[in-house]
Amino acid sequence: MSELHDPNAPQATSDLSNTGRMDVSAVLDEGRASVPDSIREVVFNLDDVHIFYGDFEAVSDVTMQIGKNEITAFIGPSGCGKSTLLRSFNRMNDLIPGARVEGLLAYHGFNIYAPEVDPIEVRRRIGMVFQKPNVFPKSIYENVAYGPKVNGMKVNMDDLVEDCLTRAALWDEVKDDLKKSAYALSGGQQQRLVIARCIAVKPEVILMDEPCASLDPIATAKIEDLMKELAADYTIVIVTHNMQQAARVSDRTAFFTADVDAKGVRHGRLVEYGPTRSIFTAPNEPRTEDYISGRFG
């Protein structure tokens, strides 16, 4: 601890850490900074969650809650289990042979890993946006209509498509090209199309796993604005390796890291979780401080 805050540390390092911290706290979203310390309405309740791939425990002992209509950011170094944890929220891990969740992961008080739960129902309520924009090889219109169709939703499809594309801030750019292949869109447009496709099935939660990782800064800014708008109606959990992004968009931030056990195996664990402002300006854990100030990770 004292060593990490040594004022006599080499000049270059302390410069770097200072700028790192200054930048991040400077971009904190003022509106979102007022989030109360305790969560008002709990959507997810995780109690002692462990996630395994076969015998390998990728995520160890996570206890946390996710608040309704909040944007929660997961940050931490690569390989610490952020994606693994996120994918357990809508049972996407079920698709990986050997993946298994232990502990309680409750959605509005219902354990989503209870035997009677249908993973398809879970995924309909809890949508997901991935790192690479995975539009389907179909028209723009068909991409948005796919989810409502497979879920048998009785809706006016034209209206729904327009509504979702409008909410995803894409309508004006594509309204004359709805029949065109989605592959003709740019990466940023494709990612907004994926978001439109996701909200078309009317989920309550949107999970986003590094949604801007393959986008340029302008496209990233658009997605971030969109997330803040969507947070009025949806609960959003976003994994990001970009701390500035976490600071810009989120209400709460969870910092994860990977601990090495006696056998040399790395297990992801939750180090610190709290309102984004306190995580970035006054972290309790020295490891959080080190990470956000750019000293490791």
């Binding site: 698709l95 398809i120 995924r123 949508g127 690479k132 995975n134 389907f136 796919y146 989810g147 099935v201």
Partner: protein, 312 residues
């Protein structure tokens, strides 16, 4: 530095000159050119050797008579050369084969790619490909001795010993591995992100497979179908053994039929005098077969390109 090299050029020996001869390069280049030339000349040779006797044939028999009359009796005293019975024979048997092979082949591919566990796939795919290695003469006797005798005869007592149905069914079985294996390759190449995207919207496995993976792999699947159909049209042994050698202008699959290929095989191995009109008819039928397969391939290239454009 530049002054130095300029002076050594002036002095006669360029330091950048090639000092070691590279014989290996020349040899490889020669061998590869030869290999390309052999296949080119073979194709050319085949076309010429089919084309010349065909042209001689059409000098004696009009193309209209050949293509649009319905009696094929080249070995009779009063021969007639209407090729339509051979075309309908080929068509009926190919359609039966395709009706068997496309659903079963595509079904196997979807099962292997989307449903089977990795362990099951490891066993099943090679097993399926063994089917492709069975000699067609074995399939032919299987059709004649087993399918006709023990499967079709009890259902259709009026069926002839030689019939199009058994040949078509067995030919369908024969091309299942081609269609299944190539379709499975195309589906396995679909990025897993697309499947994740569908599942994340609450799609079931079936909806993911049929509405996302299959459309995404469509160009490869269509290519697999066309290759399978081309194999069916060109297949000779099964039809020769199981469908008989009677040209028969009918669409009734319970009767015997002759196809273009089985006519070529039968007439070519019989004692037809070289240079006679019967002899030249073999080549005329061969040319027609070649033209049909060529058109099929052109269609498939078009289809593949169309889906590529739509999806990329």
């Amino acid at each position: 530095m530049s002054g130095q090299s300029a002076s050594s050029v002036a002095g006669g020996l360029n330091p950048l000159r090639q000092t070691k001869p590279r014989y290996g390069e020349a040899v490889i280049r020669g061998v590869l050119t030869l290999a390309a030339a052999v296949s080119l000349f073979t194709t050319f040779g085949i076309v010429i050797s089919v084309l010349i006797p065909s042209l001689e044939f059409f000098a004696e028999i009009s193309i209209l008579e050949f293509l649009f009359t319905t009696t094929w009796t080249p070995l009779f005293a009063n021969p007639q050369y209407g090729v339509l019975p051979l075309i309908t024979g080929t068509l009926v048997i190919t359609v039966i084969a395709v009706l068997v092979a496309i659903p079963l082949g595509l079904g196997s591919a979807i099962y292997l790619s989307e449903y089977a566990s990795p362990g099951a796939r490891k066993v099943l795919k090679p097993t399926l490909e063994v089917l492709a290695g069975i000699p067609t003469v074995v399939f032919g006797f299987f059709a004649l001795e087993f399918i006709t005798q023990y499967v079709l005869k009890p259902i259709f007592p009026s069926i002839q010993v030689f019939n199009a149905l058994s040949a078509g069914l067995v030919m369908g079985i024969m091309i299942i591995p081609t269609i299944a294996s190539l379709s499975e390759d195309a589906m396995a190449a679909v990025p897993s992100g697309l499947r994740d995207g569908a599942y994340a919207l609450g799609a079931t496995k079936r909806q993911t497979a049929l509405r996302v993976v299959v459309p995404a792999a469509l160009s490869g699947i269509v290519a697999a179908f066309v290759l399978g159909i081309s194999r069916a049209i060109g297949e000779t042994m099964i039809v020769t053994i199981a469908a008989g050698l009677q040209p028969n202008m009918t669409l009734n699959p319970l009767q015997g039929m002759q196809t273009m290929t089985s006519y070529i095989a039968a007439a070519g191995s019989g004692d037809v005098p070289t240079g006679s009109i019967e002899y030249k008819s073999i080549f005329a039928v061969g040319l027609l077969l070649f033209a049909i397969t060529f058109v099929m391939n052109m269609i498939s290239i078009r289809l593949v390109r169309k889906y590529r454009q739509a999806y990329q």
